[in-house]
């Protein structure tokens, strides 16, 4: 069974530039999560999708971050414009049903550095 795929693996941009991350969850997984993990901290949930609907985006900085999962499969997370404090690893995870009722499987993450 293929795991959660993410790209790119690394990205370096300057502040005020835009960046987009892509995630392909495990086939058949209805729930998709985007997390931000700053060095030395645990993952912080940015947004959770159930199929193509948003379940929780309370911690997503909506003035600069956006995410979509149009067909209920792949998802993209965008930052526009990026700030220095956005430097982090962005993790995508998926689960068959809602998290906590089923195991979340994490992708390898994208390490973003904002200069």
């Amino acid at each position: 069974e293929a795991g959660v795929a993410q790209s790119p693996r690394y990205k370096i941009i300057e502040k005020r530039q835009s960046v987009a991350f892509w995630c392909n969850p495990i086939s058949g997984h209805a729930t998709l999560y985007w997390y931000q993990q700053i060095l030395g901290q645990g993952p912080k949930l940015l947004i959770q999708f159930q199929n193509n609907g948003v379940v929780d985006d309370s911690q997503l900085p909506k003035d600069r971050f956006s995410a979509e999962r149009l067909k209920g499969v792949d998802s993209t997370l965008k930052i526009q414009p990026a700030k220095l404090e956005d430097s982090a690893v962005y993790l995508c995870a998926s689960s068959l049903i809602a998290g906590g009722q089923d195991t979340q499987y994490f992708g390898p993450g994208t390490r973003l550095t904002v200069l």
């Binding site: 912080k44 959770q48 159930q50 993790l91 809602a98 998290g99 906590g100 009722q101 390898p108 993450g109």
Partner: protein
Amino acid sequence: EDKVVQSPLSLVVHEGDTVTLNCSYEVTNFRSLLWYKQEKKAPTFLFMLTSSGIEKKSGRLSSILDKKELFSILNITATQTGDSAIYLCAVAMNRDDKIIFGKGTRLHILP
């Protein structure tokens, strides 16, 4: 405010030692507590706990949940250098299926 607190934040022990990692939580509508191991980038799932007092075991790792005192422990016996990692505790809530992670415990095993 919902929160998950792990302790210690970091721990250095020698190979063969036994370690106990702690996770306490204050959340509304608790559903389950999860432990993950994070070595490089992606956390890998270890345990999911939903009931108090029932120990879950996987090799040298075990975990138990106390829903009355609102904490869980993760034990690792006869530690090996390959156990060096960040161990993350997360709590899932029924409300909006929300999950909150603790900051993790960074464990380093010396040979």
